[in-house]
Amino acid sequence: VAAAESYPEELLYHAEHDWARIEGDEAVLGITWYAADALGELVHYEPPDEGATVSKDQSYGEVESVKAVSDLISPLSGEVVEVNQKVVDAPETVNEDPYGEGWLIRIRLSNPSERDGLLDVAAYRSLLEAQ
């Protein structure tokens, strides 16, 4: 069952509808409820390899619904330390819990100051309202 619309206060957001939860020198990344809803039920997750480098504003993988493919845009730069295998096996987890069980990758940050360029929840919500 798809989750209800929400945008947690404690996350940082990227305009391409991705979120980051910073935990020390690492960050957990995922896509927002808005992105998951727009795509519809996810049926495929093409993750990066563990150890790969991801760059801010660049694609690090793909998610697909029956009808659409979407690039995953990294809000921050770093090295992939973990891929959420649960989403590889059951991509619909992202629709059910986009900010919890539906996280996509964990990275070790290479440039922590990049966080200053991300949106807080208020800025992300006003971006959604403008669409």
Binding site: G40, V43, V66, V69
Partner: protein, 350 residues
Amino acid sequence: VQTLRRTPLYEKHVAAGARMVPFAGWEMPVQYTGVIPEHKAVRTDAGVFDVSHMGELEVEGPTAHELLQQRLSNDIAKVTPGEAQYTLITNEDGGVIDDLIVYRLDEHRYLLVVNASNRETDFDWLKEHELRGSDVRDVSDEYALLAVQGPRALERLGLPKARAFTWEMTSLDGIEVMVYRTGYTGEEGVELACMEEDAPALWDFVVGRGVTPCGLGARDTLRLEVCYPLHGNDIGPQWDAISSGLGWVCALDTGFTGAERLREIKERGPERRLVAFRMIEKAIPRQGMAIERGGEVTSGSLSPMLDVGIGLAYVPAGESAPGSEVVVDVRGKPRRAEVVKKPIYKREET
């Protein structure tokens, strides 16, 4: 600015929470709750699709039969009043201008239900070749069309079983409808044509019988699982009917437009063929993806019933036999797939 047209059921779709998208010049529902649940509703119970965007052309007169025998690929002589037939409009090269279903209304009157995007092309083509004693009219705006499909469709509507590719007039909840025993899902079911102004009441009746509203998204995945080609994706004027696997609807001895060319292709054997495939490796094929060693995916999706990537593709004839392995270029990554027999999904016989 081209404005999008709306079917008489537009308000019903919006009220039901549909996501509306542009399709062939129309604003149509792509989904209500989701492609996968709608798809499964049709495979296990019953679903209803608004297909009022499709075109309806009427051909009438003492020479209507002759006109259609010349311009349609299948043998119209096999269709008696009350029956219907799947057929093609082909060009001189045997390319597929459109695929359609022709219903014989009475001795000298036929109804052609054609793809929305080809309505004008088909009309112009037939009009151009009109014979003395045949009249071609575009009656699309007079009718609404609902497809009600699924193993429980007849039971939910209270309709008796009937032979596929026949039609009859009946009344449903006081509404006059033409019941066509045809569909695009591979399931038992009907298509219901009614006057445009009756469409909202007919929709309410059908949905009130517990039939699930379904959008174009599920319509596409349902037809792909059973390998019904989609004009504009899998078939078109650039591919001849033999290569497209539609030789079975080409009665070459009737002398229709393109028949000679198709006979040559059939005798020589086509260079490539439209085949069905399923992915061996985990990936979802999409329209336009290249097949290594030649060929192209023309339709691709995840199969909701099989939970695997499936598609239709043109491949070299030598690699078109079921069991052949092909490699799909999935955005730069090679992914293995196997050519399979059509249909890809077959309902279990009970």
